[in-house]
């Protein structure tokens, strides 16, 4: 990670995948599910990109597009500088050596009628790779590398526990010494203690073999542990992407803030202190996503502009991109550079509260709401001089 000027191993630009919704005998198209709707990211060699989001946000579709199990509707996927977006099956085949998947469910991703030897040895046969001492030796080495014993060669998947099956999946993915491993929820089906074993295994393998990972998970704690860079997805869009530490210390998109405040923390003493932002409602359907900012239906700070104008993904901290009109935890410098003015007065009003807090803490639910005054009531806003009283007047008129 010491060299900064590196060519990205994987570069995704404007990636789109729409699934048609068909109806009737003639399979007439009546709509589209916008599973992935224009996402960009890059992954450097040796780096781990974690993708988080709720179910239905397009995480798994993204993974399937990267390994080309699905045909992208639009956009571009580059692997080592080469455009692989629309390569044919045949042209893709030699590349599959370099990009290997690990699947979520260790029960359905292993053929129950094949022995472990056949499963882990399959990549060698399919890619016609010659091994020095034969396939069996190579497979047994892989099994050992993944914490299984070489005697497991002739056993069947049903003889193994969930964690061991996932290790078999990892061994299969490693067989051809890939450059990149794409893992879709690699640990979510496993018990906590086994989860830790598999996470440690993935860590060790990365150090040993210099692998690049793209890991998808819904568990934010797991993603924080494994990733260097984290992308947060919501309804087919990347709403925030940045370095792990920057993103977890100061999440800027309200959705990320809400997600993080929802993580259960194994410390009962925190239960009393913590104020949680509980998002109301459910994720809208990707077949009919809300216009402009897709999060505005559930966002507690949504304004008129959020319903009219889609916020672009902008770099508000070095390497930390956010797509929001009214980001949280904005650093003081970015406030000046990016010009709070162009984002409307709402942003400045918020920073008034944000500046006082050091690091990230879940804000109080009432905090940063528009001050309310009922009929025949008065409301007072006390601020530091010259900061946002003017802005408040604007907001009162705006809303």
């Amino acid at each position: 990670m010491e060299i900064t000027e590196r060519e990205p191993l994987l570069k995704v630009t404007g990636l789109v995948k729409h699934f048609p919704i068909t109806q009737g005998l003639l399979r007439r198209q009546v709509g589209t599910v916008r599973a992935v709707d224009g996402i960009d990211f890059t992954v450097l060699p040796g780096e781990t990109l974690g993708i988080v989001g709720e179910s239905g946000c397009g995480k798994s579709t993204t993974v399937r597009l990267i390994v080309r199990l699905l045909e992208p509707t639009g956009g571009r996927i580059e692997f080592e500088g080469r455009d692989i977006t629309h390569l044919s099956r045949g042209a893709m085949r030699p590349l599959r050596k370099d990009i290997q998947p690990i699947f979520q469910d260790p029960y359905s991703s292993l053929n129950p009628r094949h022995t472990v030897g056949t499963i882990v040895g399959a990549p060698f046969r399919l890619q016609k790779v010659e091994t020095e001492h034969g396939v069996k030796d190579a497979v047994q080495e892989l099994l050992e590398l993944c914490g299984l014993s070489p005697e497991h060669y002739n056993r069947y998947p049903h003889e193994f526990s969930g964690g061991q099956r996932q290790r078999i999946g990892v061994a299969r993915a490693l067989a051809l010494q890939p450059k990149m491993i794409v893992a879709d929820e690699p640990v979510s089906a496993l018990d906590v203690s086994i989860q830790a074993q598999v996470i440690n295994l993935l860590d060790d393998l990365q150090k040993e073999l210099g692998l690049t990972y793209v890991i998808v998970a819904h568990d934010l704690s797991v993603i924080r542990h494994v990733s260097d860079k984290v992308a947060v997805m919501y309804l087919g869009k990347v709403v925030e992407i940045g370095g792990r530490d920057s993103l977890y210390a100061g999440p800027m998109h309200p959705y990320t803030v809400a997600l993080m405040s929802a993580i259960p923390v194994p410390d009962p003493r925190r239960r009393v202190k913590r104020e949680r932002i509980v998002l109301t409602g459910e994720v809208p359907s990707p077949a009919n996503p809300p216009p402009a900012c897709r999060f505005h239906t559930r966002c507690w700070k949504a304004q008129k502009i959020c319903r009219q104008l889609e916020p672009p993904l902008r770099e508000l901290k070095p390497g930390h991109f956010v797509a929001c009109h009214f980001p949280e935890n904005l650093p003081a410098s970015a406030e000046a550079d990016s010009g709070a003015a162009d984002r409307g007065p709402g942003a400045r009003l918020r920073e008034e509260g944000g500046g006082a807090r050091g690091g990230w803490a879940p804000p109080h639910p009432g905090w940063c709401r528009t001050p309310r005054a009922g009929r025949d009531e008065g409301a007072a806003l006390i601020t530091r001089a010259g900061r946002s009283r003017h802005a408040l007047c604007h907001r009162l008129v705006w809303n």
Binding site: S221, H225, E282
Partner: protein, 366 residues
């Protein structure tokens, strides 16, 4: 059948003369004593639950934690009387509000189930019947215990309950089928169904495992609010220590069908004494601490419940098993009092040694 051996009075100070054993009428609302649930299988006797005891008061939440196969769900199904008596061998005592359940007639259990004790299952898709509307299933639960009510009242009650658990437009959604509900809403509907008869004991078996974090937070808040409102006793079964920390007052850690540690939630998270609990805590990546280099995982796999290891069932995975001679390999540790009142641990390590290991080797790595 289940009733045969339990017509007896509680044994007279035979095995261990602890307080709970000697008094027939329990003081607690729910009192489970030496519960054993064994199954006959072709491979031998499977000891799913092997001598678990705990007490629970109304208005309190007990969290039962452990890996899959540790006997959490079997325990809860045992309390609900949902094991088939022909397959399961159940012994021990379960006292619910002064009534012994294992020796009660099946008819009586059926009356209590749904009325006094209710359960929320893990997978909301398979727990709801796809063929009937959500409303029909909830009203059925109500009418089963209120046979004299007419359909109208029952339906109104269902709508009221759906409203209470936070389903928008409940008066319309009540006629929807389960597939028209999202995962979180199905779980809410299940909670509504469980609570429609105001049960005083609610068992929630992994209520949030299938849900997203934001929905999980909603459901946990809902369970907490409802508990405060109805004052019911809640048993929360989960493998996620984070979820337990959000809700539970007391925690019981199960391993291989036995309780290895139990105590108040604050103690269990700040000063756990069993190596298995250390492992569980260490296995979780945490967002409230600086990122660790490596997780403190538990090596190996949970044992088979048919062929349990000799001695302490955890010894093959315990890094400290050899610290006290042969004891861990030959003797099953008893659940004994730890440093604080109400905190019990089943471990052969001497208490001072346990505290020292936790403070020096484990706590810094959590």
């Amino acid at each position: 059948m289940r009733r045969k051996s339990h017509k007896r009075q509680p044994p007279v100070a035979s095995v261990n003369s602890t307080e709970t054993r000697s008094r027939p009428e329990p003081a607690s609302f729910l009192d489970v004593r030496e519960l054993r649930i064994h199954f006959d299988t072709d491979d031998g006797l499977l000891r799913a639950v092997d001598g678990v005891s705990f007490e629970l008061e109304q208005g309190r939440t007990l969290g039962i934690v452990g890996e899959s196969g540790s006997g959490k769900t079997v325990t809860s199904l045992g309390i609900m009387g949902l094991h088939r008596s022909r397959r399961a061998r159940i012994s021990g005592e379960i006292w619910l509000d002064g009534e012994e359940l294992l020796s009660a007639a099946p008819e009586r259990i059926r009356q209590l189930r749904g009325q006094k004790m209710a359960m929320v299952f893990q997978d909301p898709m398979s727990a709801l019947h796809p063929f009937y509307t959500v409303g029909a299933q909830i009203t059925e639960a109500y009418q089963a215990h209120h046979p004299k009510t007419d359909r109208r009242t029952a339906r109104d009650r269902a709508v009221e309950m759906l409203n209470r658990v936070g389903i928008p437009r409940a008066d319309q959604r009540v006629d929807d089928y389960p597939h028209q509900f999202s995962g979180g809403m199905r779980q809410r509907a299940l909670i509504a169904m469980a609570l429609i008869n105001d049960p005083s004991l609610l068992i929630a078996d992994e209520p949030t495992t299938a849900l997203d974090v934001t929905v999980q937070a909603q459901i946990l808040d809902l369970i907490r609010d409802l508990q405060q409102e109805f004052g019911s006793a809640v048993i929360l079964i989960t493998h996620d220590l984070g979820v337990v920390a959000e809700l539970a007052h007391d925690i019981l850690v199960m391993y291989a069908g036995k309780c290895v540690e139990k105590g108040p939630a604050t103690k269990l998270f700040t000063a756990p004494e069993h190596p298995y609990t250390w492992g569980l805590l260490g296995s979780m990546p945490r967002v409230d601490r600086a990122p660790q280099e490596r997780l403190l995982s538990i090596p190996g796999n949970p044992p088979s419940l048919i062929r349990l290891p000799q001695g302490c069932a955890f010894h093959p995975r315990c890094p400290f098993a050899d610290r006290n001679g042969e004891k861990s390999f030959t003797e099953v540790p008893e659940l004994t009092g730890a440093s604080d009142p109400g905190h019990q641990v089943a471990c052969h390590l001497p208490p001072e040694e346990r505290r020292r290991i936790f403070a020096h080797d484990v706590a810094p790595r959590l």
